[in-house]
């Protein structure tokens, strides 16, 4: 008895299932959301509970410029993929590079803020609960930006080696889903740290 003899379904030619990459990425994003939720809850739970040291409103400055950079990188990566689908390789590559630059600028912003906090304000991860939760939450996000940037840079190499073709557009779309997620998380982190936490 072989499965080949199982009746042929009349619709077997129309059999369509969702893309593996997309579903896999949605699952990864769901797992990441759960991880970030725990860190956000810890941040909110410990707001104002520090027994010593600086409070958020004493030392934080709202990073509007860097936030704008990161959020606009979502737009550039989206258009980059559209251009690739349209077959406009040069425009696509340029927008891809712009996305990377915007991501790097954002990381630079985080680095400057941390240097300022450590050197000028004396706030480190050991100082108080605010330091612990702030560096952990923002650091976790920065780590995800870094991972995303490494992937974006790998794709940039493929652009320049001319290995990238139109049929790879779906893979880039899946990568861009991750990047959008990283940006969306920043909206939450920004709200929690710089708006609610003030």
């Amino acid at each position: 008895m072989s499965a080949a003899s199982v009746n042929l379904h009349e619709n077997s030619l129309d059999w369509r299932l969702p893309s593996r990459g997309r579903v896999g990425m949605y699952c990864l994003i769901a797992a990441e959301v759960a991880i970030f939720t725990i860190f956000v809850v810890a941040y909110l739970f410990y707001l104002g509970k520090s027994t010593a040291g600086p409070q958020p409103k004493d030392v934080l400055h709202v990073p509007i410029f860097y936030t704008v950079c990161l959020l606009s990188s979502s737009l550039t990566i989206h258009i980059a993929v559209r251009k690739l689908i349209a077959g406009k390789m040069a425009a696509s590559a340029a927008l891809w590079l712009l996305t990377i630059v915007l991501g790097v600028v954002f990381l630079y912003g985080t680095a400057r803020e941390w240097i300022h906090l450590i050197n000028d304000e004396g706030l480190t991860i050991t100082t108080n609960l605010f330091g612990t939760t702030y560096y952990s939450l923002v650091g976790l996000h920065a780590f995800h930006v870094t991972m995303g940037l490494l992937a974006l840079i790998a794709v940039a190499v493929f652009y320049f080696a001319a290995w990238l073709r139109r049929e790879h557009a779906e893979r880039l779309e899946i990568l861009s889903m991750y990047w959008h997620f990283v940006d969306a998380v920043w909206v939450v982190v920004f709200t929690v740290v710089y708006l609610i936490g003030f």
């Binding site: 008895m1 072989s2 499965a3 080949a4 003899s5 199982v6 009746n7 042929l8 379904h9 619709n11 077997s12 059999w15 299932l17 969702p18 893309s19 593996r20 579903v23 896999g24 699952c27 990864l28 769901a30 797992a31 990441e32 759960a34 991880i35 970030f36 939720t37 725990i38 860190f39 810890a42 739970f45 410990y46 509970k49 520090s50 027994t51 010593a52 991860i125 050991t126 108080n128 609960l129 612990t132 939760t133 952990s136 976790l140």
Partner: protein
């Protein structure tokens, strides 16, 4: 069958190193499934030895077999091992092996991620057991972790846990957590994207449905655990204060974070057990499963409610009346979908032509034991009663009733049911029944009687006790049960080995079953199916064997 013997003879002529190399580098879902299962069996032996040491220590009052320090390590290692390195790998091993076969797929959606996840989990187990050698660090501060399997703060703080034992515990859970999340992503993607033509969501075998919900729960539950472990690493290595009460941190928030993982984890383990029962009971009752759509709905309901009951582990900590009420009610609510499932299995057996082969024996025992476990669970869900019984041996007896009497019995059923498929050999029914009766007697001796000292006030995790409190005789009986359980496990191992080497050839379909995996050879070829199957009902092999009266006419 001819292709099967060909591959086998090919395999056996190649040198051992080459064959081992193939297993280490494999990305095949069947081999990874078997690796998960073998790996879990090794840890089952380790965790069993730790349990035996504890039971021997408690056999009589004022026993001095092991020191209190060693006893603490034993219960920590036993709990951590059994949950993360026995139950989880068994669940993932069976899911890996069965899900692609049952949906008519060639492999999992991401085979390399699959291998990565397995080896991350394996690394976690190595970390945990390396602590016996490396936990000391430079402090001379003892070896294996001794903070309990839920590692409450501030026990895990550097001050109270010098040396590296807690670090090995954290690393091991983090690493196996990454593996679990990877496998969960893989299982969901496989089920949603790799089904063979005709297999709509409503025509998937129940095992596949239950594993889909299980994987969803892993993603939602193991991720918070990983986040909490990252925080613990920050506290221990970077000097953070997440769980440092001296600096305003909270010990209770660790409990919340741990149990947000810890309770859904119970459903992560029990849903696959339900999945095995849902496949085995119909086949040995010769009836289709009763109420398929209701079973699916009940499963999804368990998944949802299971995410909102965690703090019933924390009644004794002292929460607000509102929180207590919410968690009492949500915990009781989860008994409803679970009860629906029990009724559906009974209704499947009702009027069926039941064959009590070994897998069915284990499933029937599971039904009654799981019912009892659920009922003691409802008693523990009542907050005032929980204040009385919490942290006593009553709790230990309850959750072992769930995990051993419910989950492990179903896993044994699954071992016997799919052993012919995976090995190509029939197991010995006589040894199987011996295993069942030994283990059944041992289980009831140990865990029925364990409730009593709990009600009489014996707290868990004490290394010895005073005579004359009425606990002595119960502890003696509980320990005697271990002998039967250990004997049962030995018979089980002997059966697997003997049948693998000497067993009769099984053929494709020894149970006259109805799901796709029984249509391919035993063991299945690397490619699973020579031609992609097409299905029209939930029991494609029934349709094939009974073309005059196929299921799809009625579904």
């Amino acid at each position: 069958m001819s292709t099967n013997t060909l591959t086998l003879s090919e395999l056996s002529t190649r040198p051992l190193t080459l064959r081992l190399h193939e297993w280490v580098t494999t990305v095949d879902h069947k081999r990874l499934g078997i690796l998960y299962i073998l790996y879990a069996l090794v840890f089952l032996a380790l965790g069993g030895i730790e349990a035996t040491i504890m039971r021997l220590q408690l056999i009589r009052p004022h026993n001095e077999l092991v020191s209190p320090q060693v006893f603490n390590r034993m219960f920590t290692m036993h709990g951590t091992t059994m949950i993360f390195f026995v139950a989880m790998p068994l669940v993932f091993g069976f899911a890996n092996y069965l899900v692609p076969l049952m949906i008519g797929a060639r492999d999992m959606a991401f085979p390399r991620l699959n291998a990565f996840s397995f080896w991350m989990s394996a690394l976690g187990g190595l970390f945990l057991y390396f602590s016996f050698f490396g936990g000391d660090g430079l402090y001379g501060a003892g070896s294996a972790p001794d903070v309990g399997w839920f590692a409450y703060a501030p026990l895990t703080a550097k001050t109270f846990s010098v040396g590296h034992s807690t670090d090995f515990w954290t690393l091991s859970l983090l690493s196996s957590g990454i593996g679990s999340i990877g496998t969960a992503i893989n299982i969901i993607t496989t089920i949603l994207c790799m089904r063979c033509p005709g297999m709509t969501l409503g025509k998937m075998p129940l095992l596949v449905w239950l594993n889909l919900v299980m994987a969803g729960l892993v993603i939602l539950a193991v991720s918070p655990l990983s986040a909490a472990q990252i925080m613990l690493v920050v506290d221990r290595y970077l000097g953070g204060h997440f769980f440092d009460t001296q600096a305003g941190g909270s010990a209770v928030i660790w409990m919340h974070f741990f149990w947000i993982f810890g309770h859904p984890e119970v459903y992560v383990l029990v849903l696959p057990a339900f999945a095995f029962a849902s496949e085995i009971i119909p086949v040995f009752s010769r009836k289709a499963i009763f109420g398929y759509p209701v079973m699916v709905l009940a499963t999804v309901a368990i998944g949802f409610i299971g995410m909102s009951v965690w703090a019933h582990h924390m009644f004794t900590i002292g929460m607000s009346a509102g929180a207590n009420t919410f968690f009492v009610l949500s915990t009781m609510a989860i008994a409803v979908p679970t009860g629906i499932k029990i009724f559906n299995w009974l209704a499947t057996m009702w009027g069926g032509r039941i064959r009590y082969a070994t897998p069915m024996l284990f499933c029937v025992a599971f039904l009654f034991q799981f019912l009892v476990a659920g009922l003691t669970g409802v008693t523990l869900a009542v907050a005032p009663l929980n204040w009385q019984l919490g942290n006593s041996y009553y709790v230990v007896a309850h959750f072992h009733y769930v995990i051993v009497g419910g989950i492990l019995f179903c896993i044994f059923a699954a071992f016997y049911y799919w052993f012919p498929k995976a090995s190509g050999k029939l197991y010995s029914e006589a040894l199987g029944k011996l295993h069942f009766w030994l283990f059944f007697i041992g289980f009831h001796l140990t865990f029925d009687f364990m409730h009593v000292p709990g009600i009489l006030g014996m707290p868990r995790r004490i290394y010895t006790y005073e005579p004359g409190r009425g606990w002595d005789i119960w502890n003696l009986i509980v320990t005697i049960g271990v002998v039967f359980q250990a004997a049962g496990i030995l018979v089980f191992a002997a059966n697997l080995l003997w049948s693998y080497l000497r067993g009769k050839t099984a053929g494709n379909d020894p149970w006259d079953a109805w799901t796709l995996e029984w249509s391919t050879s035993s063991p299945p070829p690397v490619y699973n199916y020579a031609a992609v199957p097409n299905v029209r009902s939930r029991r494609p092999l029934w349709d094939l064997k009974h073309s005059e009266d196929p299921d799809w006419r009625y579904e």
